[in-house]
Symmetry: C2
Subunit: 420 residues, 2 copies
Amino acid sequence: MFETNNLNNIDISVESAFDTYLNAISEENLEYENINVEDSLSRILYDDITVKRDYPSFDKALEDGYAVNSSDVLSARQNNPIKLEIIGETNVENLERLTILTKQAVKISKGAFLPENADAIILPADAKEKDGLLNVFKSVTPDSWIAKKGEDIKADEVFIKKNRKIRPQDIGGIIGIGFRQVKVYKKPVVTIIPTGNELVPLDVDPDSNQIIASNGYVLKGFVEQFGGIGRISSIVKDDLNQVKSAISKALEVSDMILVSGGSSAGSKDYTFQAIKSLKNSVIIAHGIAMRPGNHVLLALVDNKPVIGLPGHPVSNLTSFHIFGKAVLRKLAGSARSFWQERKDNIKLDALLAKKICSPLGKEDYVRVRLFEQEDGKITAYPYTGKSSFLSTLVKSHGIVKIPSECGCLYEGDRVEVLLF
Amino acid sequence: MFETNNLNNIDISVESAFDTYLNAISEENLEYENINVEDSLSRILYDDITVKRDYPSFDKALEDGYAVNSSDVLSARQNNPIKLEIIGETNVENLERLTILTKQAVKISKGAFLPENADAIILPADAKEKDGLLNVFKSVTPDSWIAKKGEDIKADEVFIKKNRKIRPQDIGGIIGIGFRQVKVYKKPVVTIIPTGNELVPLDVDPDSNQIIASNGYVLKGFVEQFGGIGRISSIVKDDLNQVKSAISKALEVSDMILVSGGSSAGSKDYTFQAIKSLKNSVIIAHGIAMRPGNHVLLALVDNKPVIGLPGHPVSNLTSFHIFGKAVLRKLAGSARSFWQERKDNIKLDALLAKKICSPLGKEDYVRVRLFEQEDGKITAYPYTGKSSFLSTLVKSHGIVKIPSECGCLYEGDRVEVLLF
């Protein structure tokens, strides 16, 4: 009665499953939309942004002071001031360009047009006005406190490359060069399907053998953190036709589907059969050499990623982190820059507080809780609690990977922790 | 005409300004609100969450299989199976607890009540049913694939400590223990006041001597990323009374104020005077030994933090990152855990690609662009462009700090990059 033929006996490696799956997911038909720049925080740029004119558009002063030609004040010293004639004053409201000749200066405000022949600003602290003359007490290097036309940004230059996840300072830059709208990838819609006879919705008080369907909210949160729109469908019973119909319905409105629960090989696990019986389905992997999450199912239906995640909270979350996140980043258009990857996968080094062992041949993902020691060192205390447990997920701060060829890690070993 | 008496000649150190300012900001009157758990992503928990009952509430099976007493099958081997009597079957719908005696087993589904006297589950792969008997081919350690009452979470235990920034898995946990609402800190309201005669709003086409007011959008983005609500006020002219009145008005509706521009000591810089002339104002620092951002102004008015940020984009952002972010995290209630701090301040190690020098006695914050080399090493290329430049902000990926006692850093030096 327990059907085990769903699972291959030989599990494929995490790396191989990951590469095969990610390669099978196409980015070709990703869609875009135009939105206001000020609403674009954390959206992913669809096209390169190119600048139409030079910034600044004229040579300008960057500070209040006196516009001079630096060669006139080369020998200026505290005890040997150079005297320049002040021929006028200009500020940001003055659109006319003045000109200085040898040994002349113009009093100037920040942002104003730099006079012709001036190549630097003398700061007020380094000069003193007296009887219409300026006593300069310090030499200045050419180019000090001025910006030349186009020195910030050149016309026709690529200002920001596509696929950037837009940061606050990027919004400032894009606004600064006069854009009002920006073209971004549409957010991928991810439907999460909670399955299981034991599940009840959030607003029902569970009997002692029932569980509130909480995995969907965890997945929705991560989907949103990584740039998708998360939708949680109604809870689906452990029934082949109901699972199949829920996936079919979700396909109509989703770019990606996460089936939570039922991916294993138990008597009531129908995710595999449901996906297999759908038209245009391809199973990429079912049974991966990892723990927890061994029974994760990676598939495509109508070229859309459909992932079966084990129902136990820890396995659910771990398999999403290993596979779902990368798929989502690809569909969202953000998976191209290594430094963005570093921000989406925050890691830190810690010293293991307790020996942990793992079966050879399986990648093991161990939850850890971090402690900061008095000397500033960070230690990682491993939780080996069962994968159905909510508490270790909540108490842990990250995951440590034990590679498949590694048996044990020992107290004091340096480990890399993926924060989550 | 250039008033320099606003600024102390001796700038205080970043560390001293930071500590004094942060200590002066009170967390005592921070307010809370009750919200639905499913809407609480990234909000900050106001109270400890304590659990009311044991989880699980009964001993249960974690997998499909056969509930046995492990001592009955100690000697079970592939070539020496132990025979047990199957006395019944149970599943998650069955609320009645069965009992096994010596050499008995119950067929059980994941999630079901564990029978009395059973202490482990035999997985289907390790046993075979035949004529009402179970042939067990492998011994099992006590406690395998079962969860005991309270093993996940004990009643009255602190489940999540206050001040946590709620993660997706925390939402799952909080929902799982039956909470519908959660008490979180109110988001601090931060008003950003753009000042400067040269500024025009987003919907105006700037003349060549005008600049679109973009800093406010950068600050608003960061305020929102770090848990605040950002409001951008109308642009304020360089006029003492207008700056003063804008700050007064903002105080009525804000927990924190960022005045962008006018914090320096130029002829049109009124932030200092405006704050000084307000009732209940305290200037903590004006003139800090850092670059850029030397002219940042740290103040309190009515016990609320008011920060004057230099108007040049790079100085503006750098000073916000050094001071504003920490203040905001404190007001938001999230500044208590070191690992959350690591997530809010993501750092990575890189090798410097080019020598950079800095004046002794000042902390220097240098923008860097990161490159990943073929061997996986990351190099940081420093931008020494002027602080009025938008382009280096957009092109850089992070900041490297050169300590005040350090003159130069050399090509190949290992540096810590704060991503931004």
